[in-house]
Subunit: 153 residues, 2 copies
């Protein structure tokens, strides 16, 4: 998996939306300022997130965006798949975006068997992490910045 800037922006924007109460909307400008994201680009991205069903918007002078579901039910894997496509490092081991590759015999490809493990490791993490986790971590990091990013000790 590789996260392009587009996807990075999207997840950061979702974090901001997840941090604010579900019943009021947040303006693009606010997100753009807080997260240091080019505004025009962010418009495009939020629009994609809307058509994908992750957020909803209100237009007009008191307009803005909010999450359209509870943050706990938006797995990062779903968001990334919508914006970037497959999680797997190669198409031949992707569950949702399978693509044949040029190998003469896929069922005997050693590389494929290795890449499948990589895919599973990535998918396992990202399927179980949600926007709610991002919000939780943001809160924790606000108190105790960085700490080597250790969540495992």
């Amino acid at each position: 998996m590789k996260l392009s800037v587009r996807g990075e922006y999207a997840l950061r924007a979702l974090t901001v939306l997840g941090e604010s109460p579900r019943d009021c909307v947040v303006r693009i400008q606010t997100i753009s300022d807080r997260e240091n994201i080019p505004k025009r680009f962010l418009e495009q991205i939020l629009n994609e997130l809307r058509t994908a069903g992750f957020v909803e918007s209100r237009r007009g002078i008191a307009g803005g965006y909010r999450l359209s579901r509870a943050p706990e039910s938006i797995p990062l894997a779903a968001v990334i798949r919508h914006l970037e496509g497959k999680l797997a490092p190669v198409g031949c081991v992707s569950e949702k975006f399978y693509e044949r590759c040029s190998c003469p015999d896929e069922s005997r490809c050693a590389l494929r068997s290795v890449m499948k493990e990589v895919r599973d490791a990535i998918a396992n993490l990202l399927e179980n992490l949600t926007v709610a986790d991002l919000v939780k971590r943001a809160g924790a990091l606000r108190v105790k910045p960085d700490m080597g990013l250790d969540y495992s000790i």
Copy 2:
């Protein structure tokens, strides 16, 4: 991590080289035929692998390529880093190819803490797998194709 076709070809070529005895060379044409890789493109790739020190070549009529070290001491992570760059999904969590991103405060970025876990999962796998493992798996798969790719049961 994302493996481009270039990287896929490289690893498949290395598998072929790893499968043949260390003291004799394999021609580009042979690899190209066996693995179904465009020959001209493969020339380019093997050349990169040579300058990176993974393989060495003999020219002339009895020329070809061979691994320049034991297959056990060529971790897949090293190969991929040379050909594709970082393993990490985003620059800000990469060990060898760190790049700052636009986040206002990296040390309090929730997304970063998540992506670090993804990076570690990927790196852990790929640092510990070598070309020798590819060869081993290729052998196993030749006998028992696919089997759902299960190495864990």
